[in-house]
């Protein structure tokens, strides 16, 4: 077990180094001249050279990368081109809001996905099953900005049941539901197939044979086993979630890193874009690590490699 943990953790670290190399390359190597992006139009050649020196751009690429990494390890992700503020500080200030939204969105995903999957698996092959699965595909196929804008129009503008934006307990509902609809579509499909697999097992037949009523077979015996692999997958979901928040936070004005990203994209503020990308990558790697750790706990049959 310890060996397995150490191996997974070491691999996660390697992935993060790879990711940081890519963000570094996008930050400093691909743009033909970062100085041209940052410097004011009126800057003299001397100003530009000083800036070039301050950004370490006059040194070899490998030294630049070392400098960048040393900064990243201390939480220094560089300065925003546009606002001249520290990227790291801005991200840290906005991270809590995104984490709140993430927890709420996962709750909605499961609230939509698990019952729908259970329902479809129980009536497998019926029209109700087909309808539920087609609905789940609509959830998966709807871009979050479309779902978001339509829910916004109906519930915030037309009915004015919910606040249209900002930060708070009531304000989190619409963005979380928007993210939950897409995720719920996937979870209902996974829950259905997991449940169908479990219902085929011998012990379910035994439970039925000994005369248990259908409800306790489904909820006590089948559901608990079917839901475990789904729970293990939540960690793998972080990547999709991180892309979703950019759109959803900007639609609802939720003050998290997604909104920061949206603004940075409009301004072409590359240090912020890359800082958010790196932050998101860290969360994805942590999520994958979590999934790796949970999987063998849930199902001892999974070999620890």
């Amino acid at each position: 077990m310890i060996r397995y943990l150490a191996k997974r953790a070491a691999w996660s670290l390697l992935i993060l180094i790879g990711v940081s190399a890519i963000t570094f390359a996008i930050n400093f190597v691909i743009p033909s001249d970062p100085v041209a992006l940052i410097a004011a139009r009126s800057a003299t050649k001397a100003d530009r050279d000083r800036l070039r020196h301050e950004l370490w751009l006059d040194r070899p690429v490998i030294v630049q990368y070392g400098h960048y990494m040393a900064g990243v390890l201390q939480g220094d992700l560089g300065r925003s081109y546009k606002r001249k503020t520290q990227v790291g500080e801005q991200i840290m200030a906005r991270l809590p809001a995104t984490l709140v939204l993430m927890v709420a969105a996962i709750a909605f995903e499961l609230l939509i996905g698990l019952p729908a999957g259970l329902f479809a698996a129980r009536r497998r092959g019926s029209n109700a099953d087909k309808t539920a699965m087609t609905l789940s595909f609509i959830g998966v196929s709807a871009p979050q900005f479309v779902t978001g804008l339509i829910l916004f129009y109906i519930f915030a503008y037309w009915l004015s049941w919910l606040p249209s934006g900002g930060y708070g307990a009531a304000n989190v509902i619409l963005p979380a539901v928007t993210l939950g609809i897409a995720g719920g579509g996937w979870y209902s499909r996974m829950m259905r197939s997991s449940m169908v697999d479990v219902l085929r097992q011998d012990y379910i037949r035994t439970a039925r044979a000994k005369g248990l009523d259908e409800r306790s077979v489904l909820f006590v015996h089948a559901f608990r086993n079917a839901v475990l692999p789904i729970i293990a997958m939540i960690g793998l979901d972080v990547g999709i979630f991180m892309s979703g928040v950019v759109v959803v936070e900007s639609v609802y004005g939720w003050p998290g890193i997604g909104q920061l990203m949206w603004q940075a994209i409009q301004d072409r503020d590359i240090p912020i874009i890359m800082g958010v990308t790196l932050t998101a990558a860290i969360f994805i790697v942590l999520g994958n690590l979590l999934a790796d750790l949970i999987a063998p706990l849930i199902d001892p049959r999974i070999r620890l490699r």
Binding site: Y153, S193, V247, M261
Partner: protein
């Protein structure tokens, strides 16, 4: 194949999906003939007296946009951009993913391990954010958007094909072919690839849904297809600030994106069931 086709034909939702795809491809192909207006034509009566867009009516079936252009015409021409990007980007992803997956799976060992580690790395990147960063730096033309999507999207198919190739390579019939003196190209072309085709077909179909959604999202973020070129995500991006007064500008292109993605998903899912009976009802 006959039985597969019979199984596919029985799935009514998949047939509906195929019908929608056919209609939209036809509309995109015949855009200049079908569109009632030029997509960049600003009609004199395309804006109301106070300068706001016109709701759907007899002349402009789906209304007009903020510049008084016919929404239906823009959507028909936008279908071209969305589908071209969807097909090109997805075609490239499938080609890259399949080639790498087959090579790594057949050679196995370190090459296989290296490919899997590379896919781990790409998957640790939030695909959309990477695409956004690349598009923001490289500028956005139709082809760059397609290339960026292909760059982040080849991973899934590479992994699936790798796993399958590894499994197939260990079968006795491959060993037998090799014992009979068949060279690597012959084994690949004659004995491996035909067995992989159903998987490639299924993933190519499902992948179009993913790429169309990714393109819409990039255009919605303003780094995809650039105005005045119409695209469905771009129309929503342009109209966002005004959408409470002109909800049709979000509603119709939104429905179009959902319909296309849904149709490709339904067809792909049904293809998987039809081509591989052991997978029935499991996905």
């Amino acid at each position: 194949m006959v039985t597969s086709w019979t199984r596919f034909r029985r799935d009514k939702t998949a047939i509906a999906g195929l019908a929608v795809i056919t209609l939209i491809v036809a509309a995109a192909a015949l855009a200049p003939l079908l569109a009632p207006f030029d997509p960049s034509f600003q009609a004199v009566d395309g804006l109301t007296a106070d300068g706001s867009p016109v709701p759907p009516n007899g002349e402009f079936w789906l209304g007009t946009d903020l510049l008084g252009r016919d929404l239906l015409s823009r959507m028909i021409f936008g279908a071209r951009n969305s589908l071209i990007i969807g097909l090109v980007a997805n075609g490239a992803s499938v080609l890259i993913g399949t080639t790498l997956g087959v090579t790594a799976g057949y050679l196995g060992g370190y090459v296989g391990a290296a490919l899997m580690r590379l896919t781990d790395l790409v998957m640790a990147f939030p695909a959309l954010l990477l695409a956004v960063a690349l598009a923001a730096i490289l500028g956005s033309s139709l082809w760059i958007v397609a290339a960026v999507i292909a760059m982040v999207n080849w991973v899934q198919i590479a992994r699936v094909i790798y796993t399958q190739t590894t499994a197939l390579s260990s079968y006795d019939y491959i060993e037998a072919a090799r014992a009979l003196g068949a060279g690597t190209p012959r084994i690949l072309v004659q004995h491996l690839i035909p067995h992989l085709l159903p998987t490639v077909l299924v993933h190519a179909t499902l992948g179009i849904a993913t790429t169309v959604l990714l393109e819409a999202m990039l255009s919605f973020l303003g780094v995809g297809v650039q105005p005045p070129e119409p695209s469905w995500g771009g129309i929503i991006f342009e109209s966002q600030s005004y959408f409470l007064n002109a909800p049709w500008l979000v509603f119709f292109p939104g429905i179009a994106i959902i319909l296309v993605a849904l149709s490709f998903n339904l067809v792909g899912d049904s293809l998987r069931d039809a081509l591989d009976p052991t997978q029935r009802g499991r996905s």
